[in-house]
Symmetry: C2
Subunit: 399 residues, 2 copies
Amino acid sequence: MRDVGIVGVGHTKFGRWNGSYLDMASTAAVEALHDAGINLAAGEAGIDQLFLASMGAGQVNRISGAASALVDTLNLRPAMAETVENGPASGASAVKLAYMAIASGLANTVLVVGAEQMRVLSGWESTDFVATMLHPEAEYPYGMTLPAAAGMFTRLHMEKYGTSEKDLAIVAVKNHENAMHNPVAHIHLVPDLHAITDDEDANVINPYVAEPLRVYATCPMSDGAAALVLTALDTEREFAHKPVRIAGVGQATDTHVVAERPDPLDLFAVRESAKRAYEMAGMGPKDIDVAELHDAFQILEIAESEEVGFFPRGEGNKAAREGKTRVDGEMPINTSGGLKAKGHPVGATGVSQVVEIVRQLRGEATGRQVKDARTGLTTNFGGFGNNVVSIILTTKEKG
Amino acid sequence: MRDVGIVGVGHTKFGRWNGSYLDMASTAAVEALHDAGINLAAGEAGIDQLFLASMGAGQVNRISGAASALVDTLNLRPAMAETVENGPASGASAVKLAYMAIASGLANTVLVVGAEQMRVLSGWESTDFVATMLHPEAEYPYGMTLPAAAGMFTRLHMEKYGTSEKDLAIVAVKNHENAMHNPVAHIHLVPDLHAITDDEDANVINPYVAEPLRVYATCPMSDGAAALVLTALDTEREFAHKPVRIAGVGQATDTHVVAERPDPLDLFAVRESAKRAYEMAGMGPKDIDVAELHDAFQILEIAESEEVGFFPRGEGNKAAREGKTRVDGEMPINTSGGLKAKGHPVGATGVSQVVEIVRQLRGEATGRQVKDARTGLTTNFGGFGNNVVSIILTTKEKG
């Protein structure tokens, strides 16, 4: 199997995008191609395949074949192109498919773009759009939403492991602090831990979204795009950056209906996807220097930090409290600001996570750089954990 | 690169599906798994990856992560899963991705399902939905539709190559005749050639949709699903059928905006996709015994039959007139009934085309069987020719 590496990264400012969907997607793509040192003059880019990751290109923006339109916009014809949808894990799915395309030999160089423009929707429409990732017959029609699912999950976690609202706020504040060093983050603002938890006005500035989840325990709705250039490591083509190797790719599905899981706190697909990625990489949790986990809700950063093996079950809350997951901690998580503060344009998130790890491994994460980072992990969480993709990236030689 | 073959096929009756989207998709999937001799008892199916092809799962049916829901329905957890969208070429794109998944070594056995439920929309809503595959900034907002694009294309073809309305009707009648032998076809009815062309009532029973295209020169709106089981040919696993080998997969994009093509009659992506598939297979047009071409409009069957190399440019109309493309002709096309009569549930079509070729190569196409068929071609046409995928299947040994 051919080895695959990443040689270019691009990322729009997450938040609100005032141009068109294609404009947003192409902006991140052009940055990634430029970063890789690729000449975009017609016919010279040498991109064999484009994968566009999006949950809502069709449903929200009413664009079909958006990947083909993007190929055309970027002068990449006659490159192959597909749009990939796997809910909020669409981005990492596209990276996986790029890996497959190259490893299969059908492509040498692949462009991956994750792009989501959600803020054309109202707040309620956004919540409804996101809810379409719940089971179409057993959950969605009954009015279930993602905050509702996460609220119930949080309540159970609190009861079983003693996680507190303050623990969630500690994770949030850390991620907001990290985002202050990430120019492309959606939110540049650091809430005061006391003010959003213990202060008498906490209910005013940090109200409940779905009790026990408050505003500062959930991610915002964001527009944004991120892009990657992937290439086979056995080709002689030269790029502007030394490749960051994809050492492992793991994916697993779980019951679509959360209530059908024997233990709703058991995020099987997170654990299994990480296990598969570790096995493929010949690595374990101790090899990871930096990780981007899918904190659409702050409880998920805590729970995932356990499932991927960084901390024992039930001790992710304590690790966060002790500062272990800070940039200068023993296991830095979400140095980008995470979904909480960097933002969560759903289909773009998995690609954005990989962009952050590449920046960390290249030593480009100014202000939030993890010292001596050689290997990183991303975990991209689809649905309420029904389809999860984990990716391990490294600058270490294979061996 | 590992070789890949097809060991199972499934297909719902195209037309109107009165159940749910997932029910329709799983019905075709169960049939394909059963056809392959796979035990669907939980945990025993051995499916590593599912690709669901759909243009409208999100946009029409408002289901995100439908591939994961289908994995769960079919008891295939923790199989990997993604939904693939490439307009009406989504189906062949999913087959391509399955090929990549297996050839890369990340999967051994893959389930591909194409499923589209369009008839929940009104006629006008369907036309609008289909139109979202046109360029989102340069075509769709100006009211362009697919019948309009095809009408203009047909007019040019008539002027340049002398194609007549009667030629289109000849193609339509042939496909309707073929569909009479295909139990899963949408329309079981053979129009009278004279009545729909020369008769004084032709304008009543066969009115213009977008002049010079009449009703019998365009496909219907259909619900439907088709499914395939693909496997690596180097594994020792046994299936109920001998594999039909995928010898070639070719894909190419063209300008998204039809008006930007130097010659709008030049279907570059059709030609290039077929060329790539022939090259990969080490074959040429003369090796093809039977083909499924994308006759969303009858003019496309004629034009594609030229671009894939069956007939010289401008002579596809003559070939159809002379009966060369009939089941007993020298180059049988659309023995399934084609999109015209079998129906065109957009995301399912590319998968359905492959199902028909597998049935032909197995000798199972009762009533429409092409004699001694060993090798077949499918061409699945996305947008108005902006992204085309061609696949070559064969029972011949690799050599």
